[in-house]
């Protein structure tokens, strides 16, 4: 084991003038060129939030087009079929690659891993900065791809060739290649970032912190990084092949000259399914942290959660072709994948049960982060449960590419990327900015988001069950889906979306206002155990003057025989 006992932070000064020995860094160097894991976490988080606004605007535009087809959408104008395809493609791509991944994996990963394992920074600070810069470049390339000639790429975020490979078919020659380059750059950024997360949490744990003393959120982000790294490889190879098909005229996916479009589908979904667990696991980790703190209770079965996370991760590599049941794979293979897909519900169900069981015997306080964490569990159950319908191959014949699928994956992605992230943001806000967020406006934002969210996607389940297929800009071409009750459901969903978007304003105001003018927050406002709460709020560069040690697990709450109901990890026995 590491033999050093008392490490002095390389910051010579005492805690309060921790910046003392640093030459006074300029504004640019401090915020844009910094290698501090906390600043890089904020860069990822704010880029992610900014792109979330763009993604939400796209959702607003195409939902207005769906509810009131043909009429000009305020703030955008008339939506043509090409623009509609571009909007849904880039809504999907932005929300997954440029909002969920950066905020959940990189934002929380960068901020929490060093603080929670008791390190002063990531192992490779410069590589960490480089990974954000590549990510920022990928966001720029994607956003410019929306404004090039012929518009952004419109072949769905799955980019199936030959539509994505042949500019005569997708009619967006520049948009398609730029979208692909942006996605490839984003993969490179997260490979570099992933290495930092894995090595830091493996090697830089505080002295005394054994593998099972590490908080669940660190475990989930590390396993998510490993899942991402192991699954993105074939898709990087596929992206190179697709880029050559688009630009050099090779024939990897061109059936007329020996290629095979189904190969891309396999390479994409071999990455696609582990990818959804890459964003699910960090959200589950955040919910675990928040639930244990506000229920004042030890996580029901720490080791079971670790084993289910690893089981989910490994099993997620065996299920990818459930996206392709009717997409032309051999029907005999579909039987294999339907078995593995339905069986993967077991580890996830187990994890949810353990979280629910954690509430047993607790003393639950309903502050804003806990509301979000509980809402995540309630909403995600719907998402998980509706996945069984789509995993059953027989039923997927009917449900594939209908709004049932759209509603299902929004019931998993929305709790992950919005509800889970809000739980994390509201929980760690006092630590990040040293100030409290407003509790009342937090609750207004909570109810104003969760209730309309159900109003958007429950109607889509019904429309999907009626057979309404997705990615269609105007249903008046299909008499079967032009009944009044279907149009009303679409309008109801759109109105719910508008209400939900309005309720995001209180959050943005609350977030920015509290950052500068919220009431001051102490080191450990929620009285929780993990190491980040032993550093100042906000922690200085280098996090602690004297690096902490770890003496126990992260969830020793309400230990009998102690007057306080929490027991920080660094407190000597």
């Amino acid at each position: 084991m590491a033999e050093h006992t008392h490490e002095r932070a390389h910051v010579a000064g005492t805690a309060n003038d921790a910046h003392h020995d640093h030459h006074e860094v300029g504004w640019f160097k401090k915020y844009f060129w910094s290698t501090d894991h906390k600043v890089i976490a904020f860069q990822y988080m704010f880029t992610g939030m900014f792109l979330a606004l763009i993604g939400a605007f796209m959702a607003y535009v195409f939902r207005m087009q769906l509810a009131f087809p043909g009429q000009p959408v305020p703030g955008f104008g008339v939506v043509s079929p090409g623009q509609y395809n571009m909007l849904i493609t880039n809504h999907g791509s932005i929300m997954i690659f440029w909002v969920a991944m950066p905020v959940l994996l990189a934002g929380f990963g960068n901020y929490l891993i060093p603080l929670m394992v008791g390190a002063d920074d990531m192992v490779f600070p410069r590589l960490n900065r480089l990974s954000y810069q590549i990510f920022f470049l990928s966001a720029i390339v994607l956003l410019t791809s929306l404004f090039v000639q012929n518009g952004g790429f419109g072949g769905a975020w799955t980019a199936y060739p030959p539509l994505s490979a042949n500019k005569l078919y997708n009619l967006t020659p520049y948009g398609a290649s730029m979208w692909l380059i942006a996605v490839a750059l984003e993969f490179v950024a997260f490979l570099l970032g992933g290495i930092n997360f894995i090595v830091t949490s493996m090697n830089s744990r505080a002295p005394g912190m054994k593998a099972f003393d590490v908080p669940i959120v660190v475990w989930t982000i590390v396993i998510a990084s490993i899942l991402f790294m192991a699954s993105v490889g074939p898709l990087i190879a596929g992206a190179i092949m697709l880029l050559f098909d688009q630009t050099l005229g090779t024939s990897f996916f061109n059936p007329n000259r020996g290629g095979d479009p189904v190969l891309w589908q396999h390479l994409f979904w071999f990455f696609g399914h582990p990818e959804v667990y890459v964003v699910l696991l960090p959200a589950m980790g955040i919910v675990a942290e928040v639930m244990t703190v506000f229920a004042r209770k030890k996580l029901f079965a720490y080791k079971t959660v670790i084993y289910t996370i690893i089981a989910t991760g490994v099993l997620s590599f065996f299920v990818w072709a459930h996206h392709q049941f009717v997409a032309g794979i051999d029907p005999r293979m579909a039987n294999v994948f339907t078995v593995t897909t339905v069986l993967i519900s077991i580890p996830i169900a187990e994890m949810c049960f353990v979280y629910i069981a954690t509430l047993y015997g607790g003393s639950i306080r309903f502050s804003v982060p806990m509301l979000w964490a509980l809402a995540f569990m309630a909403e995600f159950l719907i998402g998980g449960v509706t996945g069984i319908y789509l995993g059953a191959s027989g039923l997927d014949i009917y449900f594939h590419d209908t709004y049932f699928v759209v509603a299902h994956f929004h019931y998993t992605f929305f709790p992950i990327a919005v509800i889970g992230v809000m739980a994390g943001v509201t929980f760690w806000f006092p630590k990040m900015f040293g100030r409290y967020m407003n509790e009342f406006w937090g609750k207004v934002h909570f109810w104003g988001t969760v209730i309309p969210f159900n109003g958007i996607f429950i109607p889509l389940f019904i429309l999907g069950a009626a057979g309404e297929h997705r990615r269609i800009f105007d249903y008046k071409n299909f008499p079967q889906f032009n009944h009044p009750w279907q149009n009303d459901l679409r309008i109801f969903a759109t109105v719910s979306l508008l209400v939900m978007l309005l309720f995001q304003i209180p959050f943005l105001v609350n977030f920015v206002w509290s950052m500068f003018r919220g009431p001051k927050a102490p080191k450990n406002p929620w009285k929780s155990n993990t190491l980040e709460w032993t550093a100042d709020s906000p922690p200085p560069h280098g996090n602690w003057a004297e690096m902490p040690e770890c003496h126990r697990g992260p969830y020793e709450y309400s230990v009998p025989g102690r007057e306080q109901d929490f027991w920080p990890q660094n407190e000597k026995a």
Binding site: M1, A2, H4, E7, A9, H10, T35, P114, A119, D120, D121, M122, V123, F124, P125, L191, G194, I195, I198, V199, T200, M202, N203, S204, R205, M209, M229, A230, S231, V232, G233, P234, L235, I236, A237, G238, I240, M241, F244, L248, G249, T250, S251, F252, R257, G258, G259, D260, L263, L267, M547
Partner: protein, 189 residues
């Protein structure tokens, strides 16, 4: 400016080497993606064999020999670095970079001939995979050579000698990829 995090080794493995091993995990799946697709297509398309007949097996064999030798000099450099002899390690790394340049030189000579004969990347399914796989590998050889020059520059001054082993591990991986690429592209006719 080394953070305390980099000095710790809770797993008992040097941080730099642990990072390189994780880089190799991601490289295995990237090259794996290209090679698995290529193998599937070769087995599915017997007619590609006559396209593959036009590759110059002897140039491939010589390149394999060059990479094997550069792997030897890389591991000798690591041995020298273990003994603390930074100057010798740096020279051996420069020798390895020379091997890399010879490899790239032979490859560019080989490709120009093939393209002159009309076997461009669009010439058919086999050629698309041939240039993509070998091109991706050549890019990794080139990147490895650059990193080696950077490592040698500090190894010369007996600093950061642990990096010699790390870049060596990456280099041996690039060699192993070529050990599999050589029969797949040049011999499977």
């Amino acid at each position: 400016m080394k953070t305390i995090a980099t000095t710790r080794s809770a797993m008992g493995i040097a941080t730099g080497k642990l990072a390189v091993w994780w880089v190799l995990v991601s490289e295995i799946v990237i090259f794996g993606g290209v090679l698995v697709s290529y193998i599937m297509h070769r087995l599915g398309h017997p007619e590609w064999a006559e396209q593959a007949a036009h590759t110059h097996m002897w140039l491939g064999a010589f390149n394999t020999f060059v990479l094997l030798t550069s792997s030897l000099s890389a591991v000798l450099a690591h041995q020298a670095a273990e003994q603390g002899n930074g100057r010798k390690a740096a020279n051996l790394l420069y020798l390895t970079c020379l091997g890399a340049l010879t490899f790239l030189g032979v490859k560019s000579f080989e490709w120009t001939n093939e393209i002159k004969e009309g076997f461009t990347i669009q010439a058919g399914g086999f050629w698309s995979y041939y240039y993509t796989a070998a091109g991706l590998h050549a890019f990794h050889v080139f990147a490895g050579a650059l990193v080696m020059l950077w490592v040698a520059s500090s190894a010369k001054k007996n600093e950061n000698l642990h990096r010699v082993e790390n870049v060596g591990i990456y280099w041996h991986f690039v060699d192993i990829v070529w050990i599999f690429l050589f029969p797949l592209l040049y011999i499977a006719k």
